[in-house]
Symmetry: C2
């Protein structure tokens, strides 16, 4: 990782030279010059223009050489072929930090090497710029309002969109960096630098590729532990975006379920759009995370309360029935027609006395029956419709802010007004207010997900293992040694080897164990009831398939079995991952699998199982007994530790895992090594 001190020049340089400064507001060099000058009271700013013409009414320099001092940071906004000579000139002058706006720089590798040789660093090329609120450093096109959101983006314009949308919710920016091609300073370096930034409380990250994904996770986790969670926006969910990312930044987009696993391990959370990002950020900067998923919905409209409840359910939140006791306490402030069970419908009480909004929120947040309150409806509009009520509404806004601050559970507000004074007042005082109820609730669900996955340490466990041989028997030996249970079995290399099988309980199964697709080649014989039958089956199979490692195993005939699969592999970007899923052929259609970065502990393995849609099959489906979920979880843990500790193993699959009430048995397994990849 980059030395954080080297980033000083990009945070608060003592002097900046903008090369390519321009008086034409259609040019980037204009905006960079204007932005740089806005910080002129904090640092020395030099505008450089080859023509030497005045820019923004100020004299310019023709070259770096002409400057009265060595600029700490040089902003490069010149044609592509002029970049290299400019950097060389600046390096000669002593500059070690470059912000390169120019896109399409030729021989980028050469330029990057040159910087490395001189121990110099660059943001970009193809950066849209950077901004630091505390240092009043504005070297970017676009408008920025100071605030607690840091933005690190591989796409400048998306970063800019995030900043724009955030301001509409009253949320400003602490630092903005458009990272461009990242051949020198990477997004990860910049994230690492944010860990101890006192002005940042939430990080917005847009990335198209995760070439250093495995190294990114600990940085995300460090941010999370510093109380600055990262909200990740990325692309690659569709063929279209994969195509575009390759063409746009040359990035290979990641598999999103692995990105989500990385987020869970890093204490970060992924969203799908800039708007989702700022909606969540707006909640995270102001409110505690909900400690659970139970939500009280309060509305002055039965219709709006119902919509809110439906949206909450769709987002995986619960709207529990409140206890009689709590309902009675709410009832004291409400007319008889009010609904109290949750959602709570004010039935006109808010119009009669606005204080009721605050009172209900206070009671609910103070109860231990819900983890968050959603207030949806008219509050925020009163003063606009009837100026006589403005002061009363401000008072409620202030009380709500006070109540929200005083409790460990968040309050989110949906107001029918987009931006009234009362709404602004709530936002200024730290209440998250949204113009659409689904935004409020999605933010709450995102915050709940962050609470559930605060990040975890990915400690490489135990010793490295290697596979002795290839095929099923070797996989069985390796996994068996790690505690994965298989049926009793014998390796049979020739006909004489069958004798040892007499110790096995019938029926048994005969497998041509070296074959990868045993069933396809009729390499499995089931239900063999005696030693005679075994001999016959062996002769028949041997005639067809020849010599090889045959395995005879007791056939798992336990009732009430659920077939699952457990797998592990090495992801291109994020390294070792472990997977559990339903083993049924048809369930493949429904993509019912869960994936986590490896290794996982028993608790995480349990959570993976609990999150499967086929979970009900395991806990006693239609009167059948529940199966041994703990044994399945142990097998996930074992697979995850093996892949994490053993670099030579690239892939493993235990499929099916037969899970019964008395334990889980692996009845087929495949381990692929780097030396013996599948063809």
């Amino acid at each position: 990782m980059f030395d954080r001190r080297s980033l000083n020049a990009f945070r608060d340089p003592a002097s900046v030279a903008v090369v390519g400064a321009s008086g034409d507001p259609a040019k980037w060099g204009h905006w960079l010059a204007r932005g740089a000058r806005a910080g002129g009271h904090r640092r020395r700013v030099y505008l450089v223009n080859r023509s030497g013409a005045d820019v923004l009414g100020e004299a310019t320099y023709r070259s770096i050489e002409e400057l009265p001092e060595t600029p700490e940071l040089v902003v490069v906004c010149v044609p592509p072929t002029a970049v290299r000579p400019l950097v060389e000139e600046s390096l000669a002058r002593g500059t070690r930090a470059f912000l390169v706006i120019t896109a399409g720089v030729p021989d980028l590798d050469g330029l990057t090497s040159l910087l490395v040789e001189h121990d110099a660093h660059m943001v970009g090329p193809n950066s849209l710029g950077l901004y630091d609120a505390a240092a009043e450093l504005r070297l970017a096109w676009g408008h920025f309002t100071p605030g607690p959101l840091a933005i690190v983006s591989q796409s400048g314009q998306l970063g800019s969109e995030i900043a724009n949308l955030a301001v509409r919710l009253g949320l400003g920016v602490s630092r903005f960096v458009s990272v461009g091609n990242q051949t020198s300073i990477t997004a990860r370096d910049l994230l690492d630098d944010l860990v101890d930034d006192p002005d940042t409380s939430v990080v917005a990250l847009y990335l198209e590729g995760f070439a250093d994904g495995a190294e990114l996770v600990p940085v995300l986790r460090a941010l999370a532990e510093a109380g600055k969670p990262t909200i990740l926006l990325t692309t690659g969910a569709s063929a279209g975006s994969q195509r575009l990312a390759r063409s746009h930044t040359g990035s290979m987009t990641p598999t999103l379920d692995v990105v989500d696993a990385a987020c869970r391990a890093g204490g970060a959370v992924r969203v799908s759009t800039p708007l989702e990002l700022v909606n969540l950020a707006s909640l995270l900067v102001s409110a505690p995370r909900p400690p659970g998923r139970r939500v009280a919905v309060v509305s002055d409209s039965g219709g709006q309360g119902g919509i809110a409840a439906d949206v909450a359910a769709a987002r995986g939140l619960e709207v529990p029935v409140l206890t009689d006791d709590l309902q009675a306490r709410l009832a004291a402030s409400l007319p008889a027609a009010a609904a109290l069970a949750n959602p709570i419908d004010l039935a006109g009480a808010g119009e009669a006395d606005m204080g009721v909004y605050a009172e209900l929120c206070r009671i609910l947040l103070r109860s231990d029956e819900v983890d968050a309150v959603v207030l949806s409806g008219y509050l925020g509009c009163y003063g606009e419709d009837n100026p006589a009520t403005r002061e009363a509404e401000f008072d409620v806004a202030d009380r709500l802010a006070e109540i929200a601050r005083g409790h460990g559970a968040p309050l989110v507000v949906h107001s029918m007004s987009d931006d009234s004074e009362a709404v602004r007042r709530m936002r200024e005082h730290g209440v998250a207010v949204y113009p659409a109820v689904e935004h409020a609730i999605a933010a709450l669900a995102g915050a709940a997900a962050l609470h559930e996955s605060p990040g975890r340490e990915l400690k490489v466990p135990g010793e490295e293992r290697t596979l002795a041989g290839i095929g099923y028997w070797a996989a069985r030996e390796l996994l068996g040694g790690l505690g994965v249970a298989f049926p009793a079995g014998r390796l049979v290399r020739d006909r004489a080897g069958l004798e040892a099988c007499a110790a096995l309980a019938v029926p048994v199964v005969l497998k041509a164990a070296w074959l990868e697709h045993k069933s396809e080649h009729q390499g499995v014989a089931l239900g063999i009831g005696s030693m005679d039958e075994l001999a016959t089956a062996y002769d028949e199979m041997h005639d067809r398939l020849g010599d090889g490692e045959y395995v005879v195993e007791e056939q798992d005939a336990r009732p009430n079995v659920v077939e699952m699969l457990v797998g592990a592999r090495r992801d291109r970007d994020f390294g070792p991952v472990v997977v559990v899923g339903s083993g049924g052929t048809e369930a493949e259609l429904y993509r019912d699998v869960r994936i986590e970065l490896a290794p996982v502990d028993q608790e995480t393995a349990r959570r993976m199982i609990d999150d499967l849609r086929c979970r009900p099959l395991l806990s006693g489906w239609r009167g059948r007994p529940a199966v041994d979920v703990g044994a399945l979880a142990a097998m996930i843990v074992a697979a995850s530790e093996l892949i994490a500790a053993s670099p030579s193993i690239s892939d493993l699959e235990i499929n099916p895992v037969r899970v019964a009430p008395d334990g889980a048995l692996a009845v087929d397994a495949l381990v692929i090594t780097k030396e013996n990849p599948l063809v």
Copy 2:
């Protein structure tokens, strides 16, 4: 259905009396009086207040009796107990139309009967009011801007939220009716009245209950055929909203998959929130429906283009690779670094020449390779950042509007500016512009869904059928008579009856056919290989279960069978529906079923099958042969026609249906009648 002429008084009354008019802006009577007076140049407006005090600087009347004429419409905004006397007084005076704002009116049934006796009608009680733009009739709290969106809402405040959100997108309201308790005039009456309203082009409908659902569908369809699609918002997706709706309006919320089926049949579409509603409405009022789901994404940012492509895929839209020919035509306007395959990334071309936005949209909309264009990014911000570019941007806005009008495929725009002049200009000229890309794309997906389901006639087919007897044999006879194929079989009432079974091919199955849960009671014997075995099996089963209708059937031993289920039932709200789904036990977990209002034709049945997630199982899963989907569709059609034509049948289920390459066989079936409901 209500006579449309009776609604004249609610559209454009010659005279209105507002009873309960008030000078206090915190009171509803104030807003109603103000609103009514705003239409004073169109009609005679009388303010009535028991105290006789001046309101809004105008003298009031103390009673209806005092008025100089019979008001055509009386607006009732008095305490609950005062409603009945006021209505009586007004009826005596000759008024036949009432808008009742008051909530909690006692003896509502009595009041409703009184109105019926006098051939009078009421909107409400518990209405938030109504608005008619063309007639300048404003009898509601809230602000309304004239436009093409009609709003009919069971929740006044939700209707008001819809109107507010619509205006933010530049979309105004033609008519607004908060229907309240609907004991006289219902939402359906009001929708019917909109069919030939020249000022309405899209209808927003919020309902919590669908007691007359079956009658609502033809009205939705009439609206759709008049080119005014309905966007439905409803509630009941969660336990919380179900609870609230019962408490709020006493409504039993519907099953949402049936509501969606009703929307497809009615040419309407359901959304989940007010914002989704207005986003879709904003597109529908200005653009043609996309004739398919192929979308071109154009962006001046690779990041934004990728996000747009992912959102499109998540919404079921395709972002196809464009042909080389089309890419070449696009390339002519773009620099070498541009991405052309789709998404299209301008790579800076827009900055250099804004005309490129219009040119690309023109080429794409004129091609037959896409059904819609999504433009996402900076357009709309140029003039704000750099006033020198304002005129050029307006020009592009105008050209885009012209291009959008000239083609049969829609253009939707996501602009990073929320509300710049250029954005307003596009909206005014009929281009739908959104501040978030997911809003633009969700609107497009909603419009595509409307195109795919333009509504269909629910013609009750053929003759009514009745079930002769109970149990499987009777069901088999009934369904068999309608073309549903069963295995060859014989009814066996006693041991002698077994002889007739000699004609069947072995293996056969013996079933205790009168039992509903045959397997649970060991009422099925499979794999019977001879007449002797059949006799033994019969004796064993008869000893246990006694006399009854036994059925012997040939056992379906065809290979490559996929098990499905076909069912039909009578929905409480919407009447007969038909269902198809995967027959696997585990697939039940994934709720993989499709439902439509019955009857369906072969084409609709095929679509139901195509929309199943298990569809790949039917078309040759993992090298297996494809099965006879046509036969399955025919069985869906038969079940749908039976339930639609036969009021005595309440429920039927054919499960499993064994679908093989050579046809579909029903191997169990249950028909439930009103006379013999399941216990």
